[in-house]
Each structure stands twice: as structure tokens, then as C-alpha cells.
Symmetry: C2
DNA sequence: CTTCACATGTAAAGCGTTACATGATTTG
DNA sequence: CAAATCATGTAACGCTTTACATGTGAAG
């Protein structure tokens, strides 16, 4: 009779997406990439088994396809149930578990050999380019939210997570610039 | 004859710390928390088995204790070998694998019910307090590096990772403030 | 004499990705 | 008809944490 672990937020990420709109597993994967991709990710290997479990537990249910498959195999669309939305609300209230941060880039910087700094600065430049590219993505997303979700009740919440991405990208780019300058001066 | 996975950076984080100074497994855990803790973490369950494997592979070796145990069980101190340092240098050159970001806080914000926004804003306030506290830690660390590593060749690299933490904390705090303001205005 | 800090290690379980298997339909 | 896209699902593997097991010496 021990307290089980219950840390996994994968079921809730799925529940949350289905609460916005009924979707198939395939859609969930795409929607995750296109909306919460800068701070969350789910693979098919997680999505399909989790959907099956949620359905068994009565937190989601199969529904008729609103948008039937355009091509390929027959799809299975899921929607949340009242119990599913209640579970989501309860999860939302619980304080988020902050996962230990892990940045291999910073690890390489920390263990950087000053005589071989160029090896690592290459990675810093790549990181800068990556964040710069993401900034462009964020601009696209911002336009999409403004156009397609102008009156949606969750609009402000979506803009807030987007804003996080922008501020994060700005901070990373500034850090890359400062670091590149500091090591250029040193060499 | 397939290409094996080889993603794990745990052995390199250990190798990197041992390259700075010979240490025991217990020390590695503490050093990780006190120097790279804002972007990396290792648990004992990883450290001890990894140390054993690295020793077997000849990348680290047991050495006599420089600082013998002050209390408790006899400790085992490890140092890097030439092969270990070579492996570390090779790893440093490889582009870092960027791990999919996962922020449960942002997930809760994204799936926030606008009518129950207070539930989530509580988490935002906690996150702000957390980052604020970390800022104080960073000030302590900065002083320690200036005092104790003034002439260490890796000084600039260590300051760079510290600077990352500071910029990150600043960005998060700004985001928290903006978000709290936006939702206060809306309610 | 009990508690705390030091110290090492193993076992189990959870989480997550990757690779693989399968298959239908559209597009070139 | 080949390739791309849509779509679902399983199996294997690897990484990491948590819990447990064990034991010592110092401090209060």
C-alpha cells in the first residue's frame, strides 16, 4: 500500500491537446510539434500506448472522425470525457515537477580545454543559429495565433508560452554572443 | 554489426569532473551539484556503476586519497588516465545532442483554463521565487570562482556557464512578471 | 547513545526513444 | 509502379531515478 510514483505528464499532455480538439494519435504528434514543440515532445511510442490506457480508464473515448483520413489507413479519433477533463484540472493544480536540467552544450563548455576552445565554440555558433531559426518560427506561430485563435479563451495562455520561447531564445543568443566574444578576446 | 547508440553523456560528465581534480563518487555527486548543477545532474545510481565501467575500460584509475575520509566508510578516489582525457577531448568535438526540452510548468500554462487561471499562476509565482533564489546562488558561485580559480585556465569557461544561468534566470523572471501582469489584467 | 554526515553500492521500476512491422492511398 | 504521406502499433533497448542495503566515525 505504498504511494505510487505518478510523475508522468505524458497522459496529461495528450489529455490537454484532446481537450482543445478531438484528434487521432497521428494528429497529437503533429499538434505537439507545432504548438508545444519548444517545451514539450511526445513520440509515437508513447502516444499510442497512452491513448489505449486512457481509453481503458475512461478518460478519453473514441469518436467519429470529423476530418476523415485523407490518405492511408483508417484513423481513430479520440476526445476527452468529463472524467478526463476533471483529471486534467486536478493535474493542473498540482505543482509542476521541475525536471533536472540537462544541457550537453553547457557541459562541453564547462569542460572546454582553453587551448582547444575552437572545438567548443563551433557548437556555440551552431546553438546560436538554431535559436535564431526558432525565432523565425515563433513569428510564424504568433501570426497564426492572432489570426486563427483571436477569440479563443486560451489565446493568452498560448501567447504566454510563445513569449517564453522568445525570451529564452533571446537569452541564449545573447549568451552565445558574449561567450564567442569572450573567447575571441582570449585567443 | 550495427552502429550502437552511444548517446550517454554521463561518463563524460564524470570524466570531465575527474579531469579537474581526482575525486570519489561521493565527491563527484557534490561537485556536480555545486558547479554544474544548474545545467546537469547525476545520481549515485549512475555515478558508481559508471565509475566501475570507466575503470574497467581504463579511462579512470584508482588513486591514493589526497583528502582521506574525515568520517565514515573508506573512500575510493579516482583520477583520469591519458586514455580518459583523450576520450573526453573526442567527445567535446562531437556536436552536442540537444535533448527535447520538457517544462511541466509551460505545459500547465498552455493547458490553463482561463476561468481557473489562479491555479496555474500559483506555479508561475513559485517558479519566479525559485529563479530569484538561484540568482543569489550564482552570486556566491561567481565570488568563489573569482577568489579560488583566479588563475585557473578553465576560469573563463566556468564563468561562461555561470553567465548562462544568470541570463536564463533573468529571462524566466521577466517572463513570470509579464505573464502575471497579463493574467492580472485579464481577470 | 542516538543522530548526522560520510560513503558505496545494487535492484527495481519508470520513462522515453528508436527501430521495426504493417498497410492503404495519393501523387508523380 | 515507385515514392511519399498518412496512420497505427509493438518490441527492444537505454537512460535515469528511487528505494533499499550496508556500514563507519564524529558530534552532541
Amino acid at each position: 500500500m505504498k504511494a505510487r510514483k505518478r510523475t508522468a505528464s505524458t497522459p496529461y499532455s495528450i489529455l490537454g491537446l484532446l481537450a482543445i480538439e478531438p484528434m487521432s494519435g497521428y494528429d497529437i504528434h503533429r499538434a505537439a510539434n507545432e504548438t508545444i514543440g519548444h517545451f514539450w515532445s511526445e513520440s509515437f511510442g508513447q502516444i499510442y500506448p497512452t491513448l489505449a490506457r486512457l481509453a481503458k480508464d475512461g478518460l478519453v473515448r473514441r469518436v467519429a472522425d470529423a476530418t476523415p483520413a485523407r490518405a492511408g489507413r483508417r484513423r481513430t479519433t479520440y476526445a476527452t470525457t468529463a472524467r478526463g477533463r476533471a483529471a486534467l484540472a486536478a493535474w493542473r493544480k498540482r505543482p509542476p515537477v521541475l525536471q533536472p536540467p540537462r544541457s550537453e552544450l553547457l557541459l562541453k563548455v564547462f569542460f572546454c580545454d582553453p587551448r582547444r576552445a575552437q572545438d567548443v565554440l563551433l557548437h556555440v555558433r551552431a546553438a546560436r543559429a538554431f535559436e535564431q531559426a526558432r525565432r523565425a518560427t515563433y513569428r510564424v506561430w504568433r501570426g497564426r495565433i492572432r489570426r486563427e485563435a483571436a477569440d479563443h479563451p486560451s489565446r493568452d495562455a498560448w501567447l504566454a508560452t510563445l513569449r517564453y520561447g522568445e525570451l529564452h531564445a533571446r537569452a541564449v543568443i545573447q549568451w552565445c554572443d558574449e561567450t564567442l566574444r569572450a573567447f575571441a578576446a582570449a585567443s
